[in-house]
């Protein structure tokens, strides 16, 4: 099987599964998840095959893209628009983590949606399942979790999403990337609103779609500008040296940027939307309304990573004209600023959240900010590295939280307690009840915090910090370091509140470990969370550097501009990251280890007003509501509908109607009556009267007629004789 054929099959198999499930097998749960898992499994297999081929076949650094397969798609005025699939270094590493995470999350979903459990009596499609009652052998009735009513629909949408992600990673032009981007946005909408009978889920889905749409709009403008200037959207043509040269040198009409800078900025706005960076971050926390596998896949591992992937892909465009060591060009400056700010901003908000998944959502936003900040200062390899490792441990963390929530729900069903299974302040002591979940979650949490040496997160985060430090952007360095400290703090807060200490509610006491089909993916992902970092150990790391080659950097060096820094490894960023990670973890454990049932957050008193701000997410949502949403509503509802449509336009119609009526009345009373009067009195009565008077001339007496006749004709004759012929002359 050639690589080109595999490149085409990998996205198309999940698409086929989507089609088959939605058309044929949606009644059977087993067949649906079998089709979905089978297709994704085969795609995983194909991805692994290509991955190993790519690694094996690529020892030289100079080849840029290899293995591409294109065909003519759209006939245009001159020539045709070609689309196709391509495999290069960036897509190879992305494909690796996408294939693994997608497969693991698919397997996990089978268990999450309680396949094999009985159908709940009160379960309705569109609402999350809330348990079924079964009788055990002794005749006592228990409540157990019930299977999701819309099981097949979930797998259909998930398969569609997998298709879109694979397509995005493997395609070779920006247009198909945009198409896959939008399909992912659609799946995100469908899956966030999966439990569509809940109003909060519906609103969250709409919010996600519209917010990312704002970013996508700018991205489309950027793509259009790029196409109109360079005439193509394929990578190998845009990112060639002379195309970049042309774009850099031509001046855009906006803000004094070059065209390359402007287009890069516009495409970066798409990333801001999709990867939930600062102004457009509001959709991601609300997206936690969807089921946990959705949160894991779409909003942690893959879809939001797609934004960073795009930024990585168009990095030659963004950094056109910049060489390492120069001052940053405006687009990169914007990227770095937004990334760093978002990292800190989101980390702060995460400290104040009580819902498990919300903490992880803000954590995702923060980590993506790290990646974008790294890219903004030109550290391409570091950003890509962090992308890969983050996907693994964030997926692990989300799946772990899903397992915890499942355990808590089991407890809720058992005790009939009315408690939110996602609230960390109602958990506690789950370490004993759910050991496997606890250890894998701990690994994931340490990776997120950057626990030294053994976790992947340490290596990638350290690389980012050191690159930022070495290029001299101190403000960004301090911001990122502070964010890392707070990240470690809230991670430990989350672990302590959830797993350590004593249970703070009855449901937590009755929680249960999840099924193997759910815990196996956790183990696999934990393995990657530990080991994925070891492929990117920098060569000049003290003591360990050099034991393993820095394979990652070598691999990616082919398509980026960064040159491996060979100067001595500065110890300051390493020291900072150690302090930040270990210090944050310790601080978190210390503050939260004694929270008991019913007591408030220990940070509330010391931070006071600031804590309220953190809990309310800095009121950004409220601001948007006031400034954007309400005016839009007013414009639609009041202005357009009531004033213009009903008032003005309908008013015109009513006025025309009333005018018509008035005109009719007018015609009737004045003109018609006048005419009738003329007809009646003047003409009819007049004629009758005249006739009556004239009829007296008809006496019926013959001789009167005769005499009148003769007399008058005599007169006429005399008249004629005297006028026509002149008096006396009869013209003989």
């Amino acid at each position: 099987m050639t690589t080109e054929l595999l490149l085409w099959l990998i996205p198309l198999l999940p698409l086929l599964a989507f089609g088959l499930i939605s058309l044929f097998s949606f009644r059977s749960r087993g067949v649906s998840h079998g089709l979905a898992l089978g297709s994704v499994g085969l795609s995983w297999l194909g991805s692994m095959v290509i991955f190993f081929r790519a690694i094996g076949g690529l020892t030289s650094i100079s080849s840029s893209d290899f293995r591409a397969s294109r065909f003519d798609w759209l006939p245009l005025g001159k020539g045709t628009f070609q689309i196709g699939m391509q495999l290069d270094q960036l897509s190879t590493v992305t494909l690796f983590f996408v294939a693994w995470t997608v497969l693991m999350i698919f397997i996990y979903s089978v268990g999450y949606h309680n396949y094999g459990s009985p159908i709940g009596e009160y379960d309705l499609p569109g609402l999350p399942p809330h348990g079924a009652v079964i009788k055990d052998k002794k005749g006592r009735s228990h409540r157990v979790p019930s299977v999701e009513p819309l099981y097949s629909r979930f797998f259909a949408f998930f398969a569609l999403f997998a298709f879109a992600m694979y397509l995005l990673v493997l395609t070779d032009n920006l247009l198909v990337l945009y198409i896959a981007w939008e399909i992912m946005g659609l799946c995100s909408y469908l899956l966030i609103g999966f439990w569509y009978a809940r109003p909060s889920a519906r609103d969250a889905a709409v919010k996600a779609f519209i917010t990312t749409r704002v970013g996508d709009m700018f991205m489309l403008i950027g793509l259009a500008a790029l196409y109109s200037i360079s005439g193509t959207l394929s990578y190998h043509e845009i990112f060639s040296a002379q195309a970049l040269e042309k774009l850099v040198s031509s001046q855009a009409p906006v803000l004094g940027l070059s065209w390359a800078g402007l287009i890069g900025l516009l495409i970066f706005f798409g990333t801001i939307g999709k990867s939930a960076q600062f102004p457009l971050h509001v959709w991601l926390p609300d997206a936690m309304e969807g089921p946990t596998p959705v949160s894991a896949m779409i909003h942690a591992a893959t879809m939001v990573s797609a934004g960073v992937y795009l930024a990585l892909r168009t990095f030659p465009l963004i950094s056109a004209g910049w060489a390492p060591g120069d001052a940053l060009n405006p687009t990169m400056m914007v990227m770095a600023t937004i990334g760093a700010f978002t990292a800190l901003f989101a980390a702060l908000i995460a400290v104040g959240q009580n819902d498990m998944k919300r903490v992880l959502a803000y954590s995702t936003i923060s980590q993506l900010g790290f990646m974008i900040a790294a890219l903004g200062i030109g550290a391409y390899v570091a950003a890509a590295f962090h992308l890969v490792t983050h996907a693994f441990f964030k997926a692990l963390l989300f799946l772990g939280s899903g397992s915890v929530i499942h355990g808590m729900e089991h407890g809720v069903l058992h005790t009939n307690e009315q408690v939110d299974p996602q609230n960390m302040f109602k958990m506690g002591g789950l370490r004993k009840k759910m050991p496997l979940t606890f250890w894998t979650f701990l690994i994931g949490g340490f990776a997120l915090s950057g626990f030294p040496l053994v976790t992947a997160g340490f290596w990638s985060k350290d690389e980012i910090l050191s690159k930022v430090f070495e290029t001299g952007h101190l403000l960004i360095f301090i911001t990122l370091a502070l964010s890392a400290l707070i990240t470690a703090f809230y991670t430990m807060r989350q672990i302590t509140l959830t797993f350590l200490g004593k249970p703070r509610s009855k449901s937590a006491e009755h929680a249960q470990e999840s099924r193997p089909v759910m815990t196996l993916p956790l183990v696999v992902l934990a393995f990657f969370a530990i080991t994925a970092g070891w492929v990117g150990i920098p060569g000049n790391f003290p003591a360990i550097g050099g034991l393993l080659p820095n394979w990652f950097e070598h691999f990616l060096a082919g398509i980026q501009l960064e040159v491996e820094i060979t100067n001595a490894y500065s110890l300051a960023p390493l020291f900072t990251s150690l302090v930040v990670a270990l210090g944050g973890l310790t601080l978190g454990w210390l503050v939260y280890r004694r929270v008991s049932m019913g007591s408030p957050d220990p940070l509330q008193k010391p931070l006071g007003r600031v804590h309220t701000w953190l809990v309310n997410k800095f009121y950004v949502d409220e601001l948007y509501n006031l400034v954007l949403v309400r005016p839009a509503y007013w414009l639609a509802e009041t202005f357009s509908y009531q004033w213009i449509d009903k008032g003005l336009l309908d008013g015109i119609l009513y006025a025309i109607g009333r005018f018509g009526l008035w005109l009719g009345q007018f015609f009737r009373t004045t003109i018609d009556r006048l005419i009738n009067w003329i007809g009646d009195k003047v003409i009819a009565d007049g004629v009758r009267g005249t006739g009556k008077q004239l009829s007296t001339a008809q006496s019926g007496r013959l001789q009167q007629y005769l005499i009148l006749m003769v007399a008058i004709s005599l007169l006429i004759g005399i008249f004629f004789i005297f006028t026509l012929f002149g008096s006396g002359n009869l013209g003989y």
Partner: protein
């Protein structure tokens, strides 16, 4: 010897007398007698002209013949009418025959 004018003036006078009779007589039959006088005046006129000027053509004579015929027909029918009216209404005065009034 006799100029044409004598005949013409005479026939005119006879015509006017007859006209007076038609217009002024009360009795219906009197009116009819006036009509006869007028017709005779016309015949005389025609024959005078024919005799003095147009004797070569026959149409003068034919005209006179037709007038004779018409006069007879008219008298017959007129008298029949008058008698018929007399039978119904017992009147013979023209002024009293006012069924065509209005």
């Amino acid at each position: 010897m006799i100029p044409l004018s004598w005949y013409l003036i005479f026939s005119t006078a006879l015509f006017c007398v007859g006209l007076f009779g038609v217009l002024a007589r009360k009795n219906a039959i009197g009116i009819l007698m006036g009509v006869e006088l007028m017709l005779n005046a016309v015949n005389l006129n025609l024959l005078a002209f024919w005799s003095y000027l147009y004797a070569a053509q026959m149409n003068g004579l034919v005209f006179v013949a037709i007038v004779f015929i018409t006069a007879s027909a008219e008298v017959a029918v007129g008298l029949a009418l008058i008698i018929s009216v007399y039978r119904c209404r017992r009147i013979v005065v023209a002024d009293e025959m006012t069924e065509l009034r209005g």
